[in-house]
Every structure is written in structure tokens, then in C-alpha cells.
């Protein structure tokens, strides 16, 4: 391991992802710097969400390694991984709030487990986190009783329960109307600036990629490799790969040439 690894918050080395014998992505190498909003993009079915699950440690890579601040994350015991995960916050695609608990209980559960705060304090923390995402007053609602956008924000509040310094977002704006998704983008920017968190985001929502991302990688379905890396605006103008430029300009080469 060289010293460059220590500066990166997340370092991925030669990562190959596969389901059984079906290879999803080969030999990926990238780094995420502290405080960066890092976007993983790519066409449908290219393995963006799978890559995120690898980064969180829900799936073991078939090859390669992942480091957090130079500390190895792959091929370690469950206990070590759990302790490293305490600095993670994850927002799943559909929120994945625990349906049998109220919003406040959803946020309280990790706090009860990992802190020695009193019940009353935990309740206050939960209310505060909900207020951060604009859901004050909804403490005692169940996830099924609120709208999809609210659920997503509540899930964000839960992801922030343990004051993580890395936040993972799986398609945060999927299924949200343009206004809600713009609001969510603002919220993500604010969180990054106020908490100093590193943010890793899987998305193919171009508007939010251009609005908030500092650095992005493009996963190509056909070659099964990362074909571009850099700032989205620069990539849109000067990426070597035509497909990346097409992706970022929302343009498809027509299959049939019209006369």
C-alpha cells in the first residue's frame, strides 16, 4: 500500500464483481477523496447498485480490495466490518425504513445500540434529525403512512443517525418529482457542507449529477469497465468515449438513419 491510499477516504483496487460466473465489472480502480460528492453513473443494468453493495460490504468482491482510509475493508471478520460500518450511512433506493417501527423508532434503533444516551435524549436526537430533513412532527408516523418522497427523506434522517462521515445514496431522486428531487440535491449539498461528510451516490439523473457532483465514474455495460472518470462537465465536453459524452448530453445515436 502506498501513501496515496492514506489520503483517499475510499480506495478501490482491482475490484472485479461477479454473480457466480457472470462477471458484472472487471478490474475497477478509483479513489474517493474526503468531502467529495462522488457519483457512480452508467446505463441501466451496468452494476451501479452492485458496486455500492460492494462498497458497503453486503457483497464480497470476487477479486480485488477496498480500503477505507487505508484500512482494509474486504476479507475481514464480521465484527471488524461492523465497527467500520458505524461511520457509514446508507440511503436505499426505496428508503428501506423498517415498516414495523415509527420514524422516530427507526432513527432511535441504531442510537440505542451504539450510544449510551438516555431514552429521552434519543427521542430528542431523532426529532432533530427528522427536523433536518423537514419532517418535524412526523415522529410517530409509520413509514406506510407517509408519501414516497417523505419516506426517502426519513430514510436520509435515519442514515444520518450515527453522524456518519460517509453517506451512500442509491438513486436518491428515483421516483421523485423534479421539485422534490431538486430539494433533495440541496439537502445533500447542505449536509456535505455542514457535516463535512463524504458522499457516494449512484444515479443516472443528469440534473443532479451536474448540480452537485465533484467527481464521477462511468461504468460501461458492454466493456464491463470504468470508461471515464472526472468532473461531469469536463466529461460531457471532452470524454474520450463517445458513449460517455452521449450519456451526459442525453443523446442517443439513432439506430436508423433518417433520410
Amino acid at each position: 500500500m502506498n501513501s496515496a491510499d492514506d489520503e483517499a477516504r475510499i480506495a478501490v483496487r482491482d475490484l472485479t464483481m461477479a454473480y457466480g460466473t457472470r462477471v458484472i465489472m472487471k478490474k475497477m480502480n478509483f479513489e474517493v477523496k474526503r468531502g467529495e460528492i462522488f457519483v457512480i453513473m452508467g446505463g441501466s443494468g451496468c452494476g451501479k447498485s452492485t458496486l455500492m453493495k460492494h462498497l458497503i460490504g453486503l457483497i464480497e468482491p470476487s477479486q480485488g480490495e477496498i480500503f477505507y482510509e487505508g484500512e482494509r475493508f474486504t476479507d475481514i471478520s464480521v465484527e471488524e466490518r461492523d465497527s467500520m460500518r458505524q461511520s457509514f450511512g446508507v440511503l436505499y433506493q426505496a428508503g428501506a425504513l423498517w415498516g414495523s417501527m415509527t420514524l422516530a423508532e427507526n432513527i432511535a434503533l441504531p442510537l440505542e445500540q451504539y450510544t449510551s444516551l438516555s431514552k429521552a435524549t434519543i427521542r430528542e436526537v431523532a426529532s432533530f434529525k427528522l427536523a433536518l430533513v423537514g419532517l418535524n412532527g412526523f415522529e410517530d408516523y409509520y413509514p406506510a403512512e407517509i408519501s414516497g418522497g417523505m419516506r426517502k427523506r426519513a430514510a436520509l434522517a435515519r442514515a444520518m443517525a450515527l453522524d456518519p462521515d460517509i453517506l451512500f445514496f442509491d438513486e436518491p431522486s428515483a421516483g421523485l418529482d423534479p421539485i422534490s428531487s431538486a430539494r433533495l440535491d440541496d439537502l445533500i449539498l447542505q449536509l456535505r457542507d455542514s457535516l463535512g461528510a463524504t458522499i457516494v451516490m449512484v444515479t443516472h439523473e443528469l440534473a443532479s449529477i451536474f448540480a452537485i457532483s465533484d467527481h464521477c465514474i462511468y461504468l460501461d455495460v458492454d466493456t464491463r469497465r470504468i470508461t471515464a472518470e472526472g468532473h461531469p462537465k469536463e466529461l460531457a465536453e471532452s470524454a474520450d468515449d463517445e458513449r460517455v459524452r452521449e450519456f451526459l448530453r442525453r443523446h442517443a445515436t439513432p439506430l436508423v438513419k433518417t433520410k
Partner: protein, 344 residues
């Protein structure tokens, strides 16, 4: 044009010739024309024959162009193994399922020990809700079925025993059958359809909606959080439900005894008391605890190992019920042999 005729372009058109389609006169055309032209044109291309579509209706020509413009996907066709391979895979899957079940028992034990060391992590309120779901709420249906079972046993017995004038022995029949076998079996059948399927569907849905992944990312063990309380709740509630089923079964028998055989309720109760021992009832209760564990374990295992779509949740629930009923009958047979060997 209904079907695509078999054509060999090579015999029809010389190499480097031209294949011209004329369909201008056609009044009504549908997809089959486009399909035929596409397949002929593909073949013509292979033989180096030029294809001319200028005399084909514009709409059809565009469809043909589009169909031929899409590049061939290099995706491999999904594997469709033959019979022998399928049988082999099924056998391997069965062994794997056995391993998973065994691993689950171990994990539950470890989870129980871990929870004993850190009692704070046990979510009491959810456990109480589960106790209500698997116990109190099952009372009406368990009661009804146990009552009817007692009734049926007594009815069948009464018809036979009356021939020998041994009317009173119907109480013995119902009492022993309910205490040793029927109460625990009937209760476990109901609970496997009720709670076992519910556990599998609930945990399966949690898996599909990534709630279980969310637990794991917070460092919670799904077995500790979800499976342990369910297994405990059902293992605790089953003996109570079985005891209750016993009482209603005796009552069902007494109703038949009273109405068909003129045995008074007091007489019936007395006869039941003399013949049914604490040992008989205890055997039923011990069995019901084992059955309760089997039901909860099957439900939780199937739920936690569920696939990732709606159909998978249905399969998980089905498998949970089928597997638990099979295992319960096997376990009951083992109990019968053990009781015979131990003379109890």
C-alpha cells in the same frame, strides 16, 4: 401472408444479384410481412445479394430497417439444463437446504447466547406483539378446530364402541388421542399455515425492500433482531395453545358422549381424569414445543433466504408451510418410536 415460407435465397437469386420486394399493391399488411422480408433480407445479405425495398409500403420498410439496425446482443441464452442435470441440481439444493437449516439452528443458539449477554439489545415491545400474534390471536381458530377434532374422534369412536356396549370408553379414546397426538398436531398445522407463512412472507418482503440490508449496514444481525424473537415466541406459545386445544377437544368429545351415548358431563370428566395422566399431557406439550420451533425456524429461514421479487415471497411462504408440515410429521413419527422404546 400467414406463415413464413422456407426459402433458399441462394437457389433463387444469383450471387451479387438483387432481391427486390414488391408489395405496392397490397391493401392490408401486418407484421408477418415485415417478419418475412426481414428474414429473407438477412439471408440475402449473407449471400451478398443486394436488397431493394423501394417497392414495399413505407411503413413496412421502416419496420424492416429498424429490426435489422438493432445490433445482435452478445448475451448468452439462459441455461436450460436437461432432466439429469435438473435432478442433480435438485439433489444438491436439498443438501444445501439441510445445511442452511442446520446453520440456522446454530445461529439462533448463538443469537440467544449473545442476547443473554447483552439483554439491552432484545426488543421487548416487539416480542410482546409477537406473543400476541402467535398466541392470543390464534385462540379462536385453534379452539374451533380442536373442538371439532374432539367431536369427530368421539363420533367415530361412539359408533364402534356402542356395538360392544363400551360407551364410556369414548372418553378414554378422545382423552388419550387429544393429549398425546391430536392437540399438538392440529395446533401445529394451524400455526404453520398461520404464523409460519406469515413469518416467511414478512421477512421475505423485508428482504425485497432492502430492510434486511439496512439492518446489516447498521451492524445488526438479522437473526438476532428478527428470527430469535419469532422462534422464542412460537416455541413458548405452542404449549399453551396445545393445552387449550386439549381442553376444547375433551369438551367436543363430551358433547357427543352426552348427546349420542347419554354419558353425563360429570361422568365423562371423571373418566377422562382417571385415564389421562400428567405424563400423557406432558408428552403432547413437549412435542408442541418442538413443533413450534420447527414452524418458526422454517418460516424465518425461508424468509431470510428469499429471492428479490414478489413471486419469491410467495414461494418462500409456500416452502415454509410445506417444509414445516413435513418436518412436523417426521418429528412426530420419531417421538412415537422414542415413546415406544422408553415405554412412556
Amino acid at each position: 401472408m400467414d406463415t413464413m415460407p422456407e426459402h433458399d435465397v441462394a437457389t433463387l437469386v444469383p450471387k451479387n444479384g438483387e432481391l427486390r420486394f414488391e408489395a405496392e399493391q397490397a391493401t392490408a399488411v401486418d407484421t408477418s410481412l415485415a417478419m418475412t422480408i426481414t428474414s429473407l433480407a438477412d439471408e440475402a445479405d449473407d449471400h451478398g445479394v443486394h436488397v431493394d425495398l423501394s417497392a414495399v409500403p413505407d411503413r413496412i420498410a421502416k419496420l424492416v430497417l429498424l429490426a435489422r439496425a438493432v445490433p445482435e446482443q452478445e448475451a448468452q441464452p439462459p441455461e436450460r439444463p436437461n432432466f439429469v442435470a435438473r435432478a442433480g441440481r435438485q439433489a444438491v439444493a436439498l443438501i444445501e437446504a439441510g445445511k442452511v437449516a442446520l446453520a440456522f439452528c446454530g445461529e439462533t443458539l448463538i443469537a440467544a447466547l449473545r442476547t443473554l449477554r447483552h439483554p439491552k439489545t432484545f426488543r421487548l415491545r416487539e416480542f410482546i406483539v409477537l406473543l400476541g400474534d402467535t398466541g392470543f390471536r390464534a385462540l379462536p381458530i385453534v379452539g374451533l378446530l380442536a373442538f371439532l377434532t374432539g367431536l369427530i374422534l368421539a363420533f367415530v369412536g361412539a359408533v364402534q364402541l356402542r356395538v360392544f356396549g363400551a360407551d364410556l370408553y369414548v372418553a378414554d379414546l378422545v382423552g388419550l388421542a387429544m393429549s398425546r397426538e391430536m392437540a399438538s398436531l392440529m395446533t401445529s398445522m394451524i400455526m404453520s399455515g398461520r404464523s409460519g407463512a406469515a413469518f416467511a412472507a414478512h421477512l421475505g418482503t423485508m428482504k425485497v425492500s432492502e430492510e434486511i440490508d439496512a439492518l446489516a449496514t447498521f451492524g445488526f444481525q438479522p437473526v438476532d433482531m428478527l428470527a430469535l424473537p419469532r422462534v422464542l415466541a412460537l416455541t413458548l406459545m405452542m404449549p399453551l395453545l396445545t393445552l387449550y386445544a386439549n381442553l376444547l377437544g375433551y369438551f367436543g368429545g363430551a358433547v357427543i358422549g352426552n348427546s349420542m351415548l347419554d354419558i353425563s358431563y360429570t361422568q365423562y370428566l371423571f373418566e377422562t381424569q382417571t385415564i389421562v395422566t400428567t405424563r400423557d399431557i406432558s408428552i403432547g406439550l413437549v412435542k408442541s414445543m418442538v413443533f413450534g420451533f420447527i414452524i418458526a425456524a422454517c418460516g424465518c429461514v425461508q424468509g431470510l433466504h428469499c429471492g428479490k421479487d414478489a413471486a419469491a415471497v410467495g414461494h418462500a411462504a409456500t416452502r415454509a408451510v410445506v417444509l414445516s408440515i413435513t418436518l412436523i410429521v417426521v418429528a412426530d413419527a420419531i417421538f412415537a418410536v422414542l415413546c415406544e422404546i422408553l415405554k412412556i
